[in-house]
Structures are given as C-alpha cells and as structure tokens.
Point group: C2
Chain length 121, copies 2
Amino acid sequence: MISSKINLHEKFSKFTNHWSPRVIAEMNDYHFKIAKIKGEFVWHNHKDTDETFIVFEGEMILKFKDKQVKLSEGEMFVVPKGVEHKPCAKKECKILVVEPRGVINTGDAGGKFTMTEDIWI
Amino acid sequence: MISSKINLHEKFSKFTNHWSPRVIAEMNDYHFKIAKIKGEFVWHNHKDTDETFIVFEGEMILKFKDKQVKLSEGEMFVVPKGVEHKPCAKKECKILVVEPRGVINTGDAGGKFTMTEDIWI
C-alpha cells in the first residue's frame, strides 16, 4: 500500500497560478486534477473524451455554443466528447477536473494556456 | 447538448438508504456514484480496477489489512486494484465514488450489501 489520502484544501494551498491544473491523483488511466480559474479560458473541445468538472469552491461558468451553465460549489458537469466549451470565472474558483491521463487542457486549440506536461502536486 | 449540471446536495436529498450507491453521472465508461454510509461494510476488493472515494460530508474510515485511514470532508483516497478494503463510518457519511461502469460494490465478496444493478438518481 503506497497510497495515502489526499486533502483537497491542502493541495489547493500549494499553488496560486490560474488555469494551471495540477494532478493530485491517478485512478487506472484517469487523472484527478485541481485548478484555480479566473477570467476566460479558450474555446476548445476534446475529440476523444468526456471531461468532468466539479466545483470545490466559488462559481464558474461553462460556456457552450448554444447555452451557458453556472456551476456553484457542490455542482458538477460532464462535458461530452467533441463539444466545444469555454470555462470562465468572474472571481477565482477552485475546481476538480477528472479526465483520462494525457488530455491536453486546451484540446487542439493551443495558445498560452496550453499545459505541455503533467504537474503533480 | 443533453447534459445538464448535477447538484450533489440535491442528489443526496433524494434517498436515505445506507450502502446503496446511486449513479449520478457518466464520463466515458466511468460512473460517478454517491452513497450514504454508516456502520461497517464488508471486506472486499476489485480485481480489475482502482476505486476512488471522496468524502462530501462527514467522516469515514477506510480499513485495510495493514492500516486504516480516516477521511474527512474534502479528502479522497484511491484504493488500488486488488487491495482488500472495508469502508466504515461511525456516523452517517456522504461520499462520492468514481469507478468504471459495472463495478460491483462488494467485489467478489457478495452478501446483503451487493447491488445487482445500477440505480440512477
């Protein structure tokens, strides 16, 4: 047994960057990542996978081409594969993201927000 | 877009049974399930998959053959595949479980707690 428990509050206290997800756990070939978000991300999609957002603290908006969804603490949303979306937050929001290992945060969109490697915390 | 947001508080308000997980979301071939737990579950393992526990409210104990781990609100644990474990809670505890679709809650152990089908809520 090499596993140990993971405290989300403690993990969130370890970084301040926005839009810079940190990997906190691995389950099979899936990653649990936490992120602090503020402002507007880029429009993008993930062609091969769904992506789950869970709000840990604060409020975020998931924009889609045909609607937008406000998510508050204790709310989650599964973005289906291939669906264009744009995460946004007026104030800093802390989120948990669950998706397969290796998914690029900006999909094929690229740009300054793109994480080129996993950062474990 | 058929997806809509999922409110965990609201989902937890819809059932009272202990040790009776409800599916609230699907991401690829994985399920997000919520459960209210109290007392002692059975020793079991999942031969083919890791299993993730996240405490939403309250406190649980994950017993392993060589140790036990107390998890409070905002804490999570990934139980590696094949590792015997026994979830317990002195008082009612609300948890989120993430694992592949079709995983049997009691592994091969069987018994009264075994869920024979997925219950969506």
